[in-house]
């Protein structure tokens, strides 16, 4: 299997992000929460503090390292959850049609009508702040896109010869859905998933800012970004570094998604080979 | 000069691939006389459609015209300006395509699409043009034309849409009608009607036809002369009656022999059809020498190394084979 540049670049960025998250205790310079010295508040980048310090005097670099854990967990886990829900609902609704399709479509329309952030907010308000609640809230509210796309893809594939052939050969519905249809609709679904991960990371930022996500003093890229909003001109390093961290991670996820989609498609394999 | 309406001389069309240029069409020459029906037959990928596009000046990247001459009524048009080509299209050359649904504008009523021809090429006013459009629909035997001119393409059946296409193509009485697989997407009984209609209208208006198809029987039935293309080259050209009765090129012979024809089973029983071995080569992998050589039952060494020259036959025919009959 040949790896295109997308997969390499994307994979490397994601690997770096994961590495940073996993090895944070070893690569961070200070404790992200406890080492706060107001004497060092809002210092620009220097040898001692490579990314500068925040308003509380904490080392931004270390906070970014630990923040990777939160952002990646939120982004990846919640999106996997969303994709699982959305794809299962969309796949079955499109394939079986009938009343189930009506129910799922109705539910999807409902979800799309309510801004997902507001919905997540409501769930957070009930569950209280924290990482777990955040993942649950974000994981249950953004599945409509994958559902819609999956359903549309299934509808167009349903009448393809090989799906009919599978039915004629005696394959059961579930087997057809998961072995015949699903592999052929993965492309757009992977792309949506990676875009969704980026979106989740940003949603975390919003919720944390509103006090419902990760509460200070624990670091997450999103909350760091939110806290630094007023200081963009005075102390740009407060927002630039968390921003760059989010940017490269989301970029990496998207490129990796594109690469994966191509890797899984036998037709693009031989074309490049 | 002779009285040929269209003269195509040593036409070459190049296909620009990833880093390499391929000869999609090579050394194609034919002539169509005024009012004559000429057929160009071949399978998908043989280059017949792009030859037609070349005549109309409609080749787009990655296709481009290599060397060769295209002469319409004495005027060389292979290098004509875009403006001149636009003038010619519609007024001197009309074209109809295989898929009328995609060739017609789905957002415009069919009457308007026909009327456009009169407005663009004959300086008619819109109201005059719409009247003439209704007439045109009547000529192609669309029932209730006064109502149909307001219909959109999706409201018409496949056969009706093809009639509209014919009306558009013949609106300004062009000298030449190019028909690219015009009936392939239609049902058999409708096909027969459309072909009859085309033949009748063209005979009445003195329009020559260049009929492109993969169906040798259809073309031989409708046209006076037929040319057979294979892998970008014309391999045989004869009068229509002769091409079926006495095909000279192994490919044509193979085609004629391999397709079951009505009435044969009563005469000869259910015999195994004579196959043509192998598959149609892709443009990137044309065999050297004679391009049909991997599939030819009469192949010899010379066929693999040298491309055969054109041999002229009686009555304006030609064949390109080292071992023609």
């Amino acid at each position: 299997m040949k790896w295109g540049s997308n997969t390499w670049v994307g994979g490397s960025l994601v690997a770096i992000a994961i590495g940073v998250a996993v090895f944070a205790p070893w690569i961070a310079l200070t404790d992200p929460v406890m080492d706060a010295n107001l004497m060092n508040a809002e210092l620009p980048p220097s040898w001692e503090f490579p990314f500068g310090t925040d308003a509380q005097g904490r080392d931004i670099y270390s906070r970014i390292c630990y923040g990777a854990r939160i952002s990646l967990t939120v982004g990846v886990v919640s999106q996997i959850c969303n994709s699982l829900i959305g794809v299962t609902l969309g796949l079955t609704a499109g394939y079986w049609g009938g009343w189930w399709d009506d129910v799922v479509s109705g539910l999807t329309n409902l979800m799309l009508a309510i801004p997902s952030l507001v919905f997540a907010l409501a769930i957070m308000a009930i569950l209280g702040p924290g990482l777990v609640s955040l993942v649950i809230a974000l994981g249950l509210t953004s599945w409509s896109y994958s559902c819609r796309i999956a359903r549309a893809q299934v509808l167009s594939l349903k009448s393809q010869g090989y799906v009919q052939a599978a039915r004629i050969l005696g394959y059961g519905d579930l087997r057809i859905m998961f072995t015949q249809v699903l592999p052929n609709i993965l492309g757009p679904l992977i792309v949506i998933a990676t875009l969704g991960m980026g979106g989740a990371i940003l949603a975390e930022a919003a919720l944390s800012f509103l006090g419902l996500g990760i509460r200070p003093p624990f670091p997450s890229w999103g909350s760091m970004l939110s806290e630094a909003r007023d200081q963009i001109r005075a102390a740009p390093w407060l927002s630039v570094f968390p921003g760059l961290a989010i940017f490269f991670t989301v970029l990496g996820l998207n490129l990796l998604g594109d690469g994966l989609r191509d890797l899984l498609d036998p037709q693009s394999q031989t074309r490049r080979a | 000069m002779n009285s040929a309406l269209l003269q195509v001389d040593d036409l070459h069309i190049t296909l620009q691939g990833d880093g390499a240029a391929f000869n999609a069409v090579e050394n194609v020459s034919f002539e169509i006389g005024r009012g004559e029906a000429f057929g160009l037959v071949g399978e998908s990928g043989c280059g017949k459609s792009i030859t037609a596009l070349a005549v109309m000046g409609l080749l787009r990247r990655p296709l481009s015209l290599g060397k060769g001459r295209i002469v319409l009524d004495g005027e060389e048009i292979q290098d004509a300006s875009a403006a001149r080509l636009r003038e010619l299209r519609g007024s001197r050359i009309g074209m109809i395509f295989q898929e009328p649904m995609t060739a017609l504008n789905p957002l415009s009523p069919v009457g308007r699409q026909i009327a456009e021809m009169f407005v663009l090429h004959q300086n008619a006013s819109w109201s005059e043009a719409m009247d003439r459009a209704e007439d045109a629909l009547r000529q192609v035997r669309v029932p209730s034309p006064e109502r149909r001119i307001k219909d959109f393409p999706h409201q018409l059946s496949g056969g009706m849409r093809q009639r509209v296409m014919i009306a558009i193509a013949l609106a300004c009485r062009p000298d030449l009608l190019i028909a690219d697989e015009p009936t392939t997407a239609l049902d058999v009984t409708v096909q027969a009607e459309i072909i009859d209609l085309m033949a009748e209208l063209c005979a009445a208006k003195g329009t020559a036809i260049l009929m492109i198809s993969h169906d040798l029987g259809l073309v031989a039935n409708m046209c006076r002369r037929v040319a057979v293309m294979y892998a970008g080259r014309i391999v045989e050209s004869q009068a229509a009656e002769a091409i079926f009765a006495t095909p000279r090129h192994p490919y044509t012979k193979g085609l004629v022999d391999s397709l079951p024809r009505l009435g044969e089973r009563s005469l000869r029983g259910q015999q195994r059809l004579r196959e043509i071995a192998g598959t149609v080569p892709s443009i990137a992998a044309y065999p050297s020498g004679c391009r049909f050589n991997p599939r030819c039952p009469s192949v010899t060494d010379i066929c693999r190394s040298t491309a055969p020259d054109i041999t002229t036959l009686a009555a304006d025919g030609l064949v390109r084979c080292h071992h023609h009959e």
Binding site: - | E193, S258, P260
Partner: protein
Amino acid sequence: MAWCGAITMSDQLPDTLLQLDDLAVHFQVGSALKGGVKTLKAVDGVSFDVKPGECLGLVGESGCGKSTLALAIMGLIPPTRGHIRLNGHELSARQRMETARTVQMVFQDPYASLNPRQTVRRTLADPLRLHGITNKTEVEHRVMDMMDKVGLRRDRADRYPHEFSGGQRQRIGIARALILQPKLVICDEPVSALDVSIRAQIINLLLELKDEMGLAYILISHDLGVVEHVSDRVAVMYLGRIVEQGGWQEIFEDPRHPYTRALIAAIPDPFHRADARVARAKAHGEIASALNPPPGCHFNPRCPMKADRCVSEVPNLEAVAPGHRAACHFRNSAA
């Protein structure tokens, strides 16, 4: 419904592989909100049988219902009325696996009928495993054997469909249809989407396999040349009904329904240009929509022999000779 004794008690023994008995498939289209619900009678009272080893050619143009009929026989669409009997047993959704081992289908479009993400090996081996053949050696043996039979090279078993040409893909489709060793294969326009120069290869292959494996075929095609060459018996469909039915020679040499004559007349015959008799037999106008079929005989608006009776009275499928039936009031008149 006049069957003229063609179907008797003795014909219902397993001697008959497939038996269709007044089969109808109707669809409800539209909704109460959009101009009312209409009934699309895709198949409207079709009866015929297919014996083991026999090839029935089913001829018709778009809208005649032949594809819907094929899907109904396969058990993919439930019939609205009538019976489908395979080997004497009524077709039932619950016996999906057994039906799969009896009836299979070859599709028209070789480019859309294979899963692009499955290798040939997997496409052929999976159904075997699904039907209980788990012994790896046996699966491998049957897969290779089938590839040989359809003329595919064994070393290409691990390739994907897009690496094959149209004709080769159709061979894979045929292999897939035959891997479970069915008794009846429905071939839906098996060569229409293929290049002209390779159609003969596939037709010959289908005939060879029929003899080798003792198969019965229902060949659906609009290409009368192919139908005449391959079929033992022929049925002609128009807008959901069978209009003529009989042996291949009878149908092509002595057609008794104007539509059959029109189909034959529509074929361009390079040896008989502008034959007057042919011209008279041609149909005019467009095929009506199955949603709004003309009253009486569906073919009447296009029929060169139309009379008043044709609009008011539906002609029944009645015998003109033993085994040859036509649904036309003028079935016994000269062309």
